[in-house]
């Protein structure tokens, strides 16, 4: 079974979001990395760029597939995980840790509550992830 940490929130597109003070760290879930298989390329925006909830912010590619990444919340990017450029496989090895993608300074508070809880996300992937 895929690991779904209780303290995170989730999107229906398999991103996770973690509250860290007034910022939100973002990555893809263990389920997502497992479904993708070996990640060989990650394309992320630059620090300072804006992301919008439920809109595409980048791309993750496995050997076989190209997948869009969707922002859990709107805001300004304050950190990007530069390690993924050289070591995209980190996303497979440690999706909730060293495989993080962005840190966002949210522009609105309300969006957080629209994200799935761990329980809701577990139910989603139990149905096959769609």
């Amino acid at each position: 079974m895929a690991n779904v940490p209780k303290d995170l929130r989730y999107t229906r597109e398999h991103e996770w979001a973690k509250q860290e003070g007034d910022r939100v760290r973002v990555g893809i879930t263990d389920y997502a990395q497992s479904e993708l298989g070996d990640v060989v390329f990650v394309e992320l925006p630059k620090v300072g760029a804006k992301v919008t909830a439920a809109k595409n912010f980048g791309v993750v590619e496995s050997v076989k597939a190209v997948s869009d990444l969707f922002a859990p919340i709107s805001g300004e990017i304050v950190e990007v995980n530069a390690e993924l450029g050289q070591k995209p496989e980190t996303v497979n090895q440690d999706p909730y840790g060293r495989g993080w993608m962005l840190v966002v300074k949210p522009s609105s508070k309300g969006e957080w509550d629209h994200l799935l809880t761990a329980q809701q996300y577990e139910a989603l992937i139990a149905q096959g992830g769609h």
């Binding site: 298989g37 070996d38 060989v40 390329f41 394309e43 791309v59 590619e61 496995s62 050997v63 076989k64 190209v66 450029g85």
Partner: protein, 371 residues
């Protein structure tokens, strides 16, 4: 509605091993067992076992068998000795490609051809209809009753050798013998689609599970690993071996696809000869080349290739190459841009990413050279 997916004799073995099954050419096949890159490395570093039972096998027999194959295929079947294998192409009259295949001479007047899984029905119709006028050539579609396991990698010879009742080390590249492997009657063919030394073992469908299990068990100490279609694709990509449906199809000419080395007009008439002769005389408009990305980005099938923002071709295959640790691909480009080193751009999500024409194969082949 699409027809139900077909399954190879090894389907239950794959499911039991935890493989991820996907549709491929009308078949339900393992794309990976543990991970594509790990499986790729197992085939390059030890030995990989591939279920390729979905491929089609047709036999043609009789005094007219040679004439039938000479008419159908671009290569010169008359040059083939009993026990030898030949890579070749089936063309339309336009010189574009019905399929690529291997031709086996089983006996004086008996041959087998191995065709791509997704093309079995199309090829069967093509070969039987196109040779209906040839006397004394009887076709038999042996696809259903035949299993096929590829054993590829530096430990392949030792592994197959331990289970075979004959000396497999003596089999030359693109040659075969009949023998028993793990007590299963097989055709042991020194061929493959990975660039590694190894064999393709044709077995009766009802003996394929026994053969697969024996290879896995006897190869455990060597690191024998089942390899899915995902790694089969990255392995062949590093060799720039064409994949039908990606790099070659009914719209691509055999010469522009770089298959001129198996097009032999000197042998006499064959389907597509006239068009290919004309195409060769007029000069080829485009060529299939290897490309490597200069910018960090992955080229994929269908992405446009540009030169100074002008459309000059299309990517036909692309991925990360695990053994070369680069993003590589195969693409058609206009002939003047086909020289190794030529800078190009691949359009990826609306942006031109720097690439260049690369020397191929990307990875040095380890196949056994003819004695």
């Amino acid at each position: 509605m699409s027809p139900p997916l077909k399954r190879t004799p090894l389907y239950h073995e794959h499911v039991a091993a935890g493989a991820r099954m996907v549709p491929f050419g009308g078949w339900e096949m393992p794309v990976q067992y543990t991970g594509i890159i790990e499986e790729h490395r197992a085939a390059r570093g030890a030995v990989g076992l591939f279920d390729v039972s979905h491929m089609g096998e047709f036999e043609v027999e009789g005094p007219g068998a040679l004439a039938a194959l000479q008419h159908l295929t671009t290569n010169d079947v008359a040059a083939l000795e009993v026990g030898q294998v030949q890579y070749s192409v089936l063309c339309y009259p336009s010189g574009t490609i019905v399929d690529d295949l291997t031709v086996y001479r089983l006996a004086d007047e008996r041959y087998m051809i191995t065709v791509n899984a997704g093309n079995i029905d199309k090829d069967w119709a093509h070969v039987t209809t196109s040779t209906a006028h040839v006397k004394d050539a009887r076709w038999r579609n042996a696809s259903e009753g035949t299993g096929l396991i590829a054993v590829q990698g530096p430990k392949a010879e030792a592994l197959v050798g331990r289970l075979a009742d004959c000396d497999v080390a003596a089999i030359g590249y693109y040659h075969f013998v009949r023998g028993r492997v793990a007590e299963v009657e097989t055709v042991i063919s020194r061929t493959g689609y990975t660039g590694e030394d190894g064999f393709e073992l044709y077995a009766p469908a009802d003996g394929t599970v026994k053969l697969w299990k024996a290879l896995l068990a006897a190869g455990r100490a060597d690191g024998a690993t089942p390899v899915g279609l995902g790694a089969r694709d990255t392995l062949r990509l590093e060799m720039k071996y064409a994949l039908y449906g990606n790099d070659i199809d009914e719209t691509t000419n055999a010469l522009e696809a770089g298959l001129g080395w198996v097009v032999k007009p000197a042998k006499g008439e064959f389907i597509g000869r006239e068009a290919l002769e004309k195409s060769r005389a007029e000069g080829l408009r485009r060529r299939l080349v290897g490309i490597e990305m200069v910018d960090r980005a992955v080229a994929r099938h269908g992405y446009p290739v540009q030169k100074d923002s002008r459309a000059v071709g299309v990517v036909t295959s692309g991925s990360y190459g695990p053994s070369v640790d680069r993003y590589i691909g195969i693409a058609y480009v206009e002939t003047p841009l086909a020289a190794v080193g030529t800078p190009l751009e691949v359009e990826i999500r609306g942006q031109g990413k720097a690439a260049r024409v690369a020397r191929t194969p990307f990875y040095p082949p380890k196949v056994k050279k003819p004695a």
